[in-house]
Symmetry: C2
Subunit: 215 residues, 2 copies
């Protein structure tokens, strides 16, 4: 395989947009999620995030990465004032409007309206879900963890309520993301529709993984 090689110095010397595109691509696929929140004044907010990461199953904990002084600031303020937010899968039919939530709309406007998503509420929680999203979670803010090296923040929350498209959930509890039509993201702006190629049992020494989908 032919490679293009970059040293630390040559990465640092790259033109800014090229470097943003390259370095945002290197981690591979990322989850496409819309985070819903609501301000003290009652204005809802919706923003796309590609950094949601699994932290634990019991209790059910997820993290995501926040840049404090950027477009996502409304999300941060709303989470801090209300204590709650929602995480909603982006389906492959709605990537254009999901991407558009990253434009710098003023805080007095709701991306739900501007990007044509419908809000949905459940009893006991103020944060808005995205109606029709195949997997959606009500999250309680638990902790913010500063990442000193570059000033980003990991926001940690616990799942309070989870709704999964009945069609996509398998007997084992696994969510079939092909059936839920969940989109993947790479880099800053590329969206993918993945196809399932393999499912392996829990790995054990001496038993190389067999693809269960091909049995």
């Amino acid at each position: 395989m032919d490679y293009q090689s970059f040293s630390r110095k040559s990465i640092s010397d790259l033109e800014k947009i090229y470097r943003l595109n390259l370095i945002n691509s290197v981690s591979g696929y990322k989850s496409a999620n819309l985070i819903g929140s609501i301000s003290e004044e009652g204005t809802s907010n919706l923003a796309i995030f590609s950094s949601v990461v699994h932290l634990g199953s019991d209790p059910a904990i997820l993290g995501f990465i926040m840049r404090p002084r950027t477009v996502e600031r409304h999300t941060y303020d709303n989470i801090m004032s209300s204590g709650y937010y929602t995480i909603n899968h982006v389906d492959t039919q709605h990537t254009a409007m999901a991407h558009y939530t990253s434009a710098k709309f003023p805080s007095s406007h709701s991306e739900f309206e501007l990007c044509r998503f419908k809000e949905e509420f459940i009893d006991g929680f103020s944060a808005p879900f995205v109606k029709g999203s195949p997997v959606k979670m009500m999250m309680k803010f638990e902790q913010e963890i500063p990442i000193e090296i570059n000033g980003t923040i990991m926001m940690v929350g616990s799942i309070q309520h989870l709704m999964v498209s009945a069609e996509a959930i398998e007997e084992s509890g696994i969510i079939n993301l092909e059936k839920s039509n969940t989109a993947a993201i790479s880099g800053l702006n590329t969206y993918y529709s993945p196809q399932r190629i393999a499912q392996y049992p829990y790995a054990r020494v001496g038993q190389p993984s067999q693809n269960l989908l091909k049995e």
Copy 2:
């Protein structure tokens, strides 16, 4: 859309394996990466991780989540003693052996050998790359960040050297993950081969996103 709903209490009451499958699925797609490292005794180690997350482009910083007392312990020990590790994309042809690296092999054995990956070294760094991986990075350990709520750890590192399949890198710096054959993961054991469906320009107010791939 019909949903299956889970309250916080009903998630906590689920049978353990069902809960692991469900909660590991809810964050959506994850990157499939092999992390390579080497012990003080010179035994190399290779382990699959699905939690690599972008933290910054300048300097180029990535994080991943580590559970301290589990199968990934060798990776942690090696990173702490040597200060370096590699992150290597898993291509769609090698998901079975990549998954098999998660079996609990003894520390005296190398997963490179047991799972039939070839090591590759570059001058000045001890950590082994995965030969043939389409995107591979030499990482310098920068910081470990404890996540108090459940004892997991975010490992933060900076890219020292990056090698990208020449065929997959576009003029803009974007890596086309379809061309690099990078695999995605969902949950604990399902692998996906994604197809590019859309690429949007930087989002600006008043300019809803147009799919550049369809132009």
